[in-house]
């Protein structure tokens, strides 16, 4: 008898508070698996965002500190500069990253801070009840775009990966999704690469993960996973946006 899959070592054994079908817990799990597999538990430091996954520290069994909304990249900068041996990642939602924290994110990337930003994009403000996010799609319904997002009044979805990729300080930028087993595996590999880039002192890495929010999207979990593939990926194309590390994946 061989165990193919079991509970990751650094994920606390408590039920998640997330809604059914939510992508956050999947991403938490990937991070927990990687911390074990990459043997970095001794020196990994995490920063959860504001929003639903602010409670990431209730699940990930690692040293973590809260940061004010949007300031993850700045806090990570301070931590990494004062303790360069650490592996520092911030886990940030789309509002965190692309609205209130745009400046912090862009400038941390531009300075080439040796940190990893994991950005969870679900095109909506989840915890506050489904308001428009910077990444909300055009015509998408939210509680603050009740007639659908109109570019004339509410602007366009912000593409952080592409924005960050044009900066000379960023070295590795990839967009992935929680919408299928294959893409979940790719997301894990992308986060792994992000950590590796940091361990090799190469500079700033950003991994964006498109993630379902069935409750605020008013969909069933399965529908929400499908919606990512059908709608979100048209606006937010998956794949490596930038890789100047000069290193190819092992496989």
């Amino acid at each position: 008898m061989k165990t193919v899959y079991t509970h990751p070592k650094y994920l606390k054994k408590v039920p998640f508070h997330y809604c059914p079908g939510c992508g956050h817990s999947v991403i938490h799990r990937l991070i927990a698996e990687l911390i074990d597999e990459m043997n970095i538990h001794d020196r990994v430091l995490g920063i959860p965002p504001c929003g639903c996954s602010v409670f990431a520290y209730n699940y990930l069994d690692i040293d973590m500190t809260e940061a004010a909304h949007g300031r993850g990249a700045a806090v990570a900068t301070g931590m990494k500069r004062a303790f360069p041996e650490a592996i520092v990642f911030s886990y940030q939602g789309d509002g965190d990253l692309a609205a209130i924290g745009t400046a912090e994110t862009i400038h941390a990337a531009n300075r080439g801070e040796n940190i990893t930003v994991i950005s969870v994009n679900n095109a909506v403000y989840g915890m506050t009840g489904g308001q428009m996010a910077p990444t909300t799609l055009l015509d998408q319904w939210t509680t603050t775009t009740p007639y659908g997002r109109d570019a004339k009044t509410a602007g366009h979805p912000v593409k952080m990966c592409e924005l960050v990729a044009v900066l000379d300080g960023s070295v590795y930028v990839e967009r992935t999704a929680v919408d299928s087993p294959a893409n979940i595996r790719k997301a894990k590999k992308a986060i792994q690469k992000g950590f590796q880039v940091q361990m090799d002192n190469l500079g700033f890495s950003l991994v964006e993960v498109l993630s379902p929010c069935p409750v605020n999207w008013k969909m069933t979990p399965v529908e929400s996973w499908e919606w990512i593939e059908k709608e979100m990926e048209k606006v937010f194309p998956l794949g490596i946006i930038k890789d100047t590390t000069g290193k190819k994946d092992a496989d």
Binding site: R43, A68, R111
Partner: protein, 351 residues
């Protein structure tokens, strides 16, 4: 040495490992000093951040991993930093913040003022907290208090604010540094350094349970009570036989001191109380002085902020007058002397 640079040198000698700043007049010499002298030190970091918000949150990050960290700004920039200061206070993290205060509100003027007294002593940001506030009035004190600020911050796990002003920051005076910079930089215990061989740690303030937040507040305020008991400092000047006591802090206290010397020369029995901690405020000392002196004159470079603390401390057991000039217009000593003299005779203190 100018005041701003003196803070920088003192900070380095206090083992400050990280400085994060953003340019704003009149404190730029400090940022520049740190750029020149801190960044090149082994294990130390200087960053000119993209904003005051980013700077204070970098301080937060450095403090999380146990480094001595500081930032500095002037009034409008300090407003922006209040977000981070609130989180630092809530997360019980040490940090040193320098405010070279200018005339406000808004952009105001870049001239010396004391208009941020309320902001400094009432917490400043959202939530129920206080920061220790030190008020130097010479370049030597800027240096000494910077060292003390780092020690206090570590001792009480709380942000400490140094409230100066544009004039203190710019003026040059002799200064003597009493410490050598440490070779090995200290890492505070309790810092996040990776959960090697111990349970993982969380630094957080959010709780879904209001009782937890209440408990945090209780614990903060128990510590604040201790700080009030242990850390009040002040200077008195010719108070023993004084019939009128001027209460002033920072640069205003120096102006007042000049005026008091002249008043004494004309035979007026005037003294001064200069709080060097604004929070905690030397309320006890004010009450003590009120046993012999009934007339108090509060002199500030604002429209009357510290006067409220003096009134609260007196509990009606003395009479308080106020003189101040807002917006960065600085009174000259003879102007203050005129106010002292007028008040002295008005109250019949010559008899």
């Amino acid at each position: 040495m100018d005041g701003n640079s003196a803070i920088g040198e003192a900070a380095i000698r206090a083992g400050c490992q990280c400085y994060f700043g953003y340019p704003i007049t009149p404190q730029n010499e400090l940022t520049e000093y740190m750029a020149a002298h801190l960044g090149k030190r082994k294990g130390c970091t200087f960053i000119q951040a993209e904003s005051e918000l980013a700077a204070i949150n970098m301080v937060f990050g450095a403090s999380v991993v146990g480094a001595r960290a500081m930032t500095s700004s002037s009034s409008p920039g300090i407003s922006l930093k209040q977000e981070g200061i609130s989180y630092l206070a809530a997360c019980e993290l040490p940090a040193v913040i320098v405010n070279m205060c200018r005339g406000g509100p808004g952009l105001g003027s870049i001239a010396a003022a004391q208009s941020d007294y309320f902001q400094a002593t009432r917490g400043g940001g959202h939530g129920d907290y206080r920061t220790i506030v030190l008020a130097p009035s010479s370049v030597q004190e800027l240096a000494d208090f910077t060292h003390r600020a780092f020690d206090l911050a570590d001792k009480y796990h709380t942000p400490v604010l140094i409230l100066g002003d544009g004039m203190l920051g710019q003026m040059m005076e002799p200064v003597e540094f009493k410490h050598e910079a440490p070779e090995v930089l200290p890492v505070r215990s309790g810092a996040l350094r990776g959960a090697k061989g111990r349970p993982s740690r969380i630094i957080k303030t959010l709780s879904s349970n209001p009782a937890d937040v209440e408990e945090l507040n209780w614990s903060l305020f128990r510590r604040y009570e201790l700080i009030k008991k242990e850390e009040v400092t002040y200077e008195t000047f010719m108070v023993d036989d004084a019939k009128l006591i001027v209460v002033a802090f920072g640069i205003a206290a120096r102006i007042a001191k000049g005026a008091i010397k002249n008043a004494r020369a004309s035979g007026l029995q005037v003294g001064m109380l200069r709080p060097t901690t604004l929070w905690p405020f030397p309320s006890q000392k004010v009450r003590e002085l009120a046993q012999n002196t009934k007339q108090f004159l509060v002199f500030e470079l604002n429209m009357g902020q510290m006067i409220e603390d003096v009134q609260l401390a007196l509990e009606g057991k003395g009479e308080v007058s106020f003189y101040g000039r807002p917006g960065g217009v600085v009174s000259a000593p003879n102007e203050v002397l005129r106010v002292i003299t007028r008040l002295y005779y008005q109250k019949g203190l010559e008899k």
